[in-house]
Amino acid sequence: MRPQIVNHPENATEHALEGLALTHPHLIAHDPVTGLVTRARPARDKVGLVSGGGSGHEPLHAGFVGTGMLDVAVPGALYASPTALQVQAGTVAADSGRGVVQIVKNYTGDVLNFRIAGELAEDEAVLTEVVLVDDDLATDRGDADGPGRRGTAAVLAVEKICGAASEAGAGLAEVAALGRRVAGRARTIGLALRAGTHPGAAEPAFVLPDGVIELGVGIHGERGTGRVPLADADGLIAHLVDPLAEALALTRGSSVIAVVNGLGGTSPLELSIAARATHHRLKDLGVTVARSLAGTYVTSLDMHGVSVTLLPADDDLLPLWDAPVRTPALTW
């Protein structure tokens, strides 16, 4: 077995949530019975924001609960959607009387259980709106028949911007519309040098031959959409930035918010080098980086890899991006 810092594989996510709450008791609270992560002091008189999904993507989502971001996170089991009853409980907990926006990554189980939870929450007179995050360029097949693009790191931008708007007093429809706008414009693509390893598992989810990397990976340890030769940092990042620029039709003078995201097993030193490469590549394309962020936010256990998210920026989004945020994983 690969050495890991776990007690028992079965309670790895539970122990991680308890540890996060013990580390940030002034920001968040974790209820081990319901599994919900809530703000230490619930916000009043604002649109509630709830998100969640399978665990294994830490610090997503529990790490983004706090002022200026989520009210409630509903963590499921490892890589598995929370149940409809858990999401219903989280949705009701997030409501302070002005309705709740559910931020949902595009996976079949998440979409189904959040939709059902919204319908169940209506029984308790909670109004809900859903923002679906489907940003992964690697699964953009251009046809309507498949499951569609997966939801990956753009969820951070959606939660940040919806969080700022709801904190500023925006109404339910307005927060949801903003979230949909961000989700509709942001695109992400990732690559892996090594797959993540499940708690207690002996081997990573897939094994790469020497000298190649997996391009177009998601955040569930799954294989990517292709393999390319290993290159230096500038070369690897070009594999991400170039298709994003093309998909978003970025031209000279375009302005973006760029998020360079570690997939769980990437050192801060490497992430800074990746951020440098991202800035340089965008500059070469004549694209202005209005804001940027580099860190470990939306992960696939300990996958050694990186994703880049680009969100075309404008004068509406930037003040919301800049608004104060205070959560375990994101603070400014």
Partner: protein, 260 residues
């Protein structure tokens, strides 16, 4: 000034043809004057029958969840058996902790058991039983109320799952069953006969899934590999309706067709 009625009709049977016309089924015949009623304690008998049909235990049931899990390992992702077991175990614990007063209580416990379970079929069955729980307010439903509940439940499953007949899912058992029961109610059939023919239609629909290529659900990812394998969701739905028939007629559920 609006000319719309103040309240929408809650039950399609009470609506006038001008306001609600089911587009998939012919207009129902007038409701027979003598209402066909389900047996006393139908909800409890049905629920107990469902638990026995799927779970292992000392109640002499078939314990089919394990077999359905085997089918799912052949054609899907293999979690169906454990999901249905944990959903019904959860329901059984809730029922033991707080025995229900009537049909609605029994079916609500089954619904919540499934809604508290992960996967895709769990929440779909949860919403299916939620609609069935709501088909009457108190006591036991009439056959017509039960039929309306089944039709609504099948529509909910299709609304969430987006599956049609022929996609190799639980819908292949549920749609023919709901249509059969509607026709039986319209014809004024006795409840035991109506539910027996409903169960037969569900079993026939489920058996037909073996020949299909999956279009929805996990089996759609494996393509031809799933050909020849009975869809476990359709089989489970058919067993649920067999249990309804058995609850009414006092017979036992025969699920031998699952392995036949």
């Amino acid at each position: 000034m609006s000319t719309a009625p103040d309240t929408a009709p809650e039950n399609p049977r009470e609506s006038t043809p001008q306001t609600v016309v089911p587009h998939t089924t012919p207009l129902p015949a007038p409701v027979p004057s003598q209402v066909t009623t389900l047996v006393d304690g139908f909800g409890g008998r049905w629920t107990t029958g469902i638990l026995a049909a799927f779970l292992q235990g000392g109640d002499g049931g078939d314990g089919r969840a394990e077999e359905l899990g085997r089918l799912d390992r052949l054609a899907g992702d293999g979690d169906f058996g454990t999901n249905i077991t944990s959903a019904l175990d959860r329901a059984r614990q809730a029922l033991e902790a707080e025995p229900p007063q009537d049909y609605r209580g029994w079916l609500t416990a089954v619904s919540r058991g499934f809604l508290g379970t992960g996967g895709t079929s769990g929440p779909l069955f949860g919403m299916f039983f939620r609609d069935l729980a709501r088909c009457c307010d108190t006591g036991e439903p009439t056959l017509a109320e039960f039929s309306a509940g089944l039709t609504a439940a099948v529509a909910t499953v299709q609304r969430y799952g987006k599956a049609e007949v022929g996609h190799k899912t639980m819908v292949d058992a549920l749609v023919p069953a709901a249509r059969t029961l509607e026709a039986e109610v319209a014809a004024g059939s006795q409840a035991a006969d109506a539910l027996a023919r409903t169960a037969d239609a569900a079993v026939e629909g489920a058996r037909g899934t073996a020949a299909l290529l999956a279009r929805r659900g996990r089996a759609s990812y494996v393509g031809d590999v799933a050909r020849g394998v009975l869809d476990p969701g359709a089989a489970a739905a058919a067993i649920v309706l067999q249990a309804a028939s058995a609850a009414q007629s006092g017979t036992t559920v025969d699920t031998g067709w699952v392995t036949a």
